[in-house]
């Protein structure tokens, strides 16, 4: 009797409601979180010591002009109404105009974002392809030299100021050794040679079949991407190690060994399979962190991405751009969190 009560067949009596409830819960959480995110940026914008009206019309405008813009911006309305207007604008993709570039902030972000995306993606790929095997090996050979190495890599990664490592990297690999190209995304001679399709230079040059551009773009991106990759590697390998240790100590691993399976099969088919979903969560988080970590890296490498955009705008007191960029990155954070949460729900047999 007990055998049947826990099978999927037993659950078929109430199939939709539970699923629907969960989804509705998720949607609500996302909505509240995003609204909160907007509220925080909105409030930051309000406490700014900069007068938004003056920022639009300049110092020499008349009082009449001032009042008109004041009303136009909705500043005469109560705070809650202003917030509603702000939310409505953002939902329509309108973050206002950038004072610095004179363009719509949304257009600016659409232009600079692919550069950051390309950098963070390559960085994460490097972090995953080195960090995961390193973490697995560290767990399997716990206490041996590879474990010590992973620990060292992690400690140094957690302690290193990223902007400084970038500078030293430039000094060594560009200045002294000359192995890679210097700051920027592309050498001057290669600018505009391939049509922009995805905005990712490596992909665009491949589509165009232009190898010289690809090589130049690669030579520019490899150093900053490796640095970012190192930071996500430190995090990913540490988490992989601790997940694997937990699994390798479980009883089903003994079962697998009792069956006479090879150690390789025990590790990868049994233990590793159990950490895959946890690992994807970690990787999603590492990816989100790299999008953020790229702020400092982009400054060092003069990389025209969203991090540089936010910082430059900030120093120019261009608040619309700063808040727009913050909202975009915050939204990606939330999206990645939800994504990994959903992965758990759908791919872990235990969660069904």
């Amino acid at each position: 009797m007990a055998d049947l009560s826990q099978t999927p067949g037993g659950q078929r009596r109430l199939p939709v409601p539970r699923w629907l409830k969960k989804t509705a819960g998720t949607v609500l959480t996302v909505a509240v979180t995003l609204l909160g995110l907007l509220f925080v940026t909105f409030m930051i914008g309000r406490v700014m010591p900069i007068d938004p009206v003056l920022a639009v019309i300049g110092e020499r405008a008349t009082q009449a002009q001032y009042n008109e813009v004041f009303r136009e911006l909705g500043l005469d309305k109560p705070l809650i109404a202003q917030f509603a207007i702000y939310v409505n604008d953002v939902l329509h993709g309108d973050f206002g105009t950038s004072i610095r570039t004179g363009q719509q902030v949304s257009e600016d972000i659409a232009r600079v974002f692919p550069a950051t995306l390309e950098l963070a993606t390559l960085g994460t790929l490097i972090g995953v392809f080195i960090g995961v095997p390193l973490g697995v090996l560290a767990a399997v050979f716990r206490g041996r030299w590879i474990d010590q190495l992973a620990r060292l890599v992690g400690l140094v990664g957690y302690s290193m100021p990223i902007f400084w490592l970038g500078l030293v990297g430039l000094l060594i690999f560009y200045g002294i050794l000359g192995w890679v190209a210097g700051p920027g995304r592309l050498g001057v001679f290669y600018q505009g040679l391939v049509p922009t399709r995805t905005g990712l230079l490596l992909v665009d040059s491949l589509i165009a079949g232009d190898w010289t551009v690809f090589k130049d773009a690669f030579s520019h991106i490899i150093l900053p991407a490796s640095l970012l990759g190192y930071f996500s590697l430190a995090y990913i390998s540490r988490m992989t190690r601790s997940f694997m240790l937990e699994q390798l100590n479980s009883e089903y691993i003994t079962t697998a060994r009792v069956k006479g399976l090879s150690e390789w099969t025990v590790i990868w088919r049994h233990a590793f399979r159990n950490i895959r979903i946890q690992l994807i969560t970690v990787i999603a988080l590492a990816y989100a962190n790299l999008l953020e970590g790229s702020v400092l890296t982009e400054i060092i490498f003069a990389w025209p991405g969203i991090g540089q955009y936010i910082t430059t705008s900030l120093l120019a007191n261009d608040m619309n751009s700063v808040l727009g960029g913050t909202v975009v990155i915050g939204t990606i954070f939330v999206a990645l969190n939800i994504f990994s949460d959903l992965l758990y729900r759908f791919f872990d047999p235990r969660a069904k």
Partner: protein, 285 residues
């Protein structure tokens, strides 16, 4: 009776910060095509004995013995590679709780066929057919459906029957059952034991049944080793348990209520430090 397994002077040692700790302290026994029970309280070294036979003691634990022979193989000198051929194929083990001993993210079917495919060259379809037949043999209804379930979708009793199927499918000669029913509901304990007992007897296997429950063991085994503090204190034929002489064995027997001879008060076990130091009794045949 031909011997399937001979163990002489087996020791399992764990180095600790304050010297080393001996979990098993020089025991000797042999196993024929019989059902051998090992009984003792927690920490008596009974589980360690089971794992030491398969050389599955985790580092930093160390296994030493004067002799450890399984069939034609000397387990002491066997390489890890040879051990892998022995595990599953010649000797298997069933562990306490199927909730933890089955891989949570693999289907029942793939876990069973994996055990088979490790030791025999078969097509997947053939392996699947054998697995279904094996599930049927452990009294699982609708085995085709169970094949595609995940371990959390089956009950404890069913999980343990799946475990038995998985461990017996490569046809080993020796089965070590380490507290196979302790984590199960009382209502299914007997059922699982009977299935295991039947399969072991039908196939003429040797069974090592590790438990803390002396009465249970005496019902299912031919011969019983009583372990205390890493040593064997007494060896008994199951039918002659009432002739047991060691005070520990008698204490174990008296600490369980008996319907036929009710006593006003159950005895609490009094432990004599001298038992710890007495030499291990040999259970070689």
């Amino acid at each position: 009776m031909t011997s399937l397994l001979d163990v002489e002077n087996l020791r399992v040692t764990f180095p600790t910060r304050s010297g080393s700790f001996e979990a098993v302290r020089g025991i000797s026994f042999s196993l024929g095509r019989e059902r051998l029970g090992i009984v003792g309280e927690s920490g008596s070294g009974k589980s360690m004995t089971g794992r030491a036979i398969l050389k599955l003691i985790r580092k930093p634990g160390i296994v030493t013995a004067d002799r450890m022979q399984m069939g034609g193989t000397d387990l002491l000198t066997a390489s890890e590679r040879e051990m892998r051929r022995i595990r599953g194929r010649h000797a298997s083990m069933i562990m306490q709780d199927p909730k933890f001993s089955l891989n949570p993210v693999m289907t029942v079917g793939s876990q069973i066929t994996e055990a088979l495919l490790t030791h025999e060259k078969l097509s997947r379809a053939e392996a699947r057919k054998r697995a279904v037949a094996m599930l049927d043999a452990v009294a699982i209804r609708d085995p085709e459906r169970v094949m595609s379930l995940y371990p959390h979708e089956v009950s404890g009793g069913m999980g343990q029957r799946i475990m038995i199927a998985m461990m017996l499918i490569p046809n080993p000669e020796i089965l070590i059952a380490d507290e196979p029913t302790s984590a199960l509901d009382v209502s299914v304990q007997l059922q699982v034991l009977e299935i295991m007992d039947k399969l072991v007897t039908d196939r003429g296997m040797g069974l090592i049944f590790i438990s803390h429950d002396l009465n249970l063991v005496s019902n299912f085994c031919d011969r019983i080793l009583i372990m205390y503090a890493g040593r064997i204190v007494e060896v008994c034929q199951a039918g002659k348990l009432h002739e047991a002489k060691h005070p520990y064995t008698i204490g174990l027997l008296n600490s369980v209520p008996d319907l036929e001879h009710p006593r006003p008060r159950l005895d609490a076990l009094q432990r004599d430090p001298a038992w710890r130091e007495a030499p291990s009794v040999s259970a070689l045949t």
